[in-house]
Subunit: 249 residues, 2 copies
DNA sequence: GCTGACATGATTGTTAACAATTTTGCATGC
DNA sequence: GCATGCAAAATTGTTAACAATCATGTCAGC
């Protein structure tokens, strides 16, 4: 199965097969990234260096370097002498990430709205077509990827590489949050919201665009179930609704 | 001599001597950070792993880990098989960093302005007093530190840890840019601009505060000499004003 | 005199072994 | 039965040695 991230990169560059030529270090980073965002590695799970080293056929040193990168993106937690654990973003953290995105992306769409050109509008429309396409095909996976890419596209159009890179990390973090807190029946109705965003951008009014982006991000956040986290492996008490007792008395 | 960063941390926590209890890894990171921001390590300078390892009395592995951190903050450049080099932010990068800060900090002051309380105003005023103090004492070094801390304080008051951390990195990057491009006679008149910012914040009007912050950041940028970078060690052509020829003919 | 191959030295990249720490399992005592 | 302490296993942290790569200096050839 293709990975979320390599697929996303392929969407950017337009060549999917080429992504296999990534340097091994990046390969491992992306593989772990995918596994985390796919919840194949569940939040809270311990990541043992040697196991991963064997799995990828590299030395522990490389795994440790990869850990540093992932920890910097807040996707794993590094505890001295204890090891690495997949991040379990708290509800408060989740809210802060969305709040941060609002602050950043408000500024982004303000810039994009006031600097809109026909070519850029066409770029956005092309992307929205792909989103609709994926949605009508029922390709939920691609829809999720493209949804994130949409926000990244706007950041790129704002013309600031610093913001773009930062937002990329924030979007990854958001993906982990969504994976952890999404409601049982996933709702990817965001593509219609993206349409509305384009309209707002085309109005050329920065305030209108910023308001629309805020509404959109709040909507994503509010679709999550930020009250009760999906229980992790270790949270037996909430799984069974009671504390453990002996089975046969 | 105290380091810029540990001094800054001390300002935050209120206890300077305690900063010596940092774990060795953080110690090394901060020492290198300081050296870069102080220009004891000049932009473009090669950082040899073994030399640094000997200097700090640690193994190369630790130095490599520190390199990853610094590279993530864009303070050094990591070139495969070639090594680590102190970053030489280009003029375009510098402009982008200031632009990114404008986007972020506009949002920050909007939030702070609309959520101002007496206590927060007092916090800011206390900080400004310290800035003025340093300035009147002629303590240029402390003035620079406190100037950066001012922006960080506003980010903290905005109540978003994600933004605060990101801005912290951006401020470090700005410090390197200033160190690289500052005009011959350093102008730290920014403390009066900070006063104006406080006034704008007290107005409670987000638009006013954002405009003031934009003006302030633009002013800092415009005080730099972003046309001609201060020549690095290797730029002999610009040092001597001509290309090398044989000395005795 | 200049260019390019080649050998040498310096530096980074990688691996494996060792040390320190934490976790786990078990026995002991209350 | 439960807590406490101890020993063993697992895991992380660190170091040193080796391999691969790159930079530098030398020398032959034009």
């Amino acid at each position: 199965m293709e990975s979320i991230v390599t697929m996303a990169k392929a969407e950017q560059t337009g060549s999917y097969k080429g992504s296999e030529k990534l340097r091994p270090e990046e390969m491992i980073y992306h593989e772990m990234l995918d596994a985390i965002l796919d919840r194949r590695l569940e939040p809270g799970m311990k990541l043992v260096e040697e196991d991963l080293a064997k799995t990828f056929g590299v030395s522990r040193a490389r795994i440790r370097a990869t850990f540093l990168q992932l920890a910097h993106d807040k996707l794993i937690n590094l505890v001295p002498n204890r090891g690495a654990f997949v991040s379990e973003p708290t509800i408060d953290e989740a809210i802060e990430v969305f709040s941060a995105r609002r602050m950043i992306e408000d500024g982004v769409v303000r810039k994009v709205a006031t600097n809109m050109t026909d070519e850029r509008a066409a770029q956005i429309k092309t992307h929205l077509d792909r989103e609709h396409d994926a949605h009508h095909r029922g390709d939920h996976r691609a829809a999720i990827i493209l949804s994130g890419e949409f926000h990244l596209l706007l950041a790129r159009l704002s013309g600031n590489l610093v913001i773009e890179e930062f937002l990329e990390r924030l979007i990854l973090r958001t993906s982990l949050i969504i994976a952890m807190y999404e409601s049982p029946q996933p709702v990817d109705c965001s593509h219609t919201e993206h349409d509305q965003l384009l309209n707002a951008l085309l109005s050329g009014d920065g305030d209108v665009a910023a308001a629309e982006m805020s509404r959109h991000l709040d909507a994503i956040r509010d679709r999550l179930q930020l009250q009760r986290p999906k229980p992790g492996k270790t949270d037996f008490a909430s799984i069974f609704g009671r504390m453990p007792t002996s089975e046969a008395s």
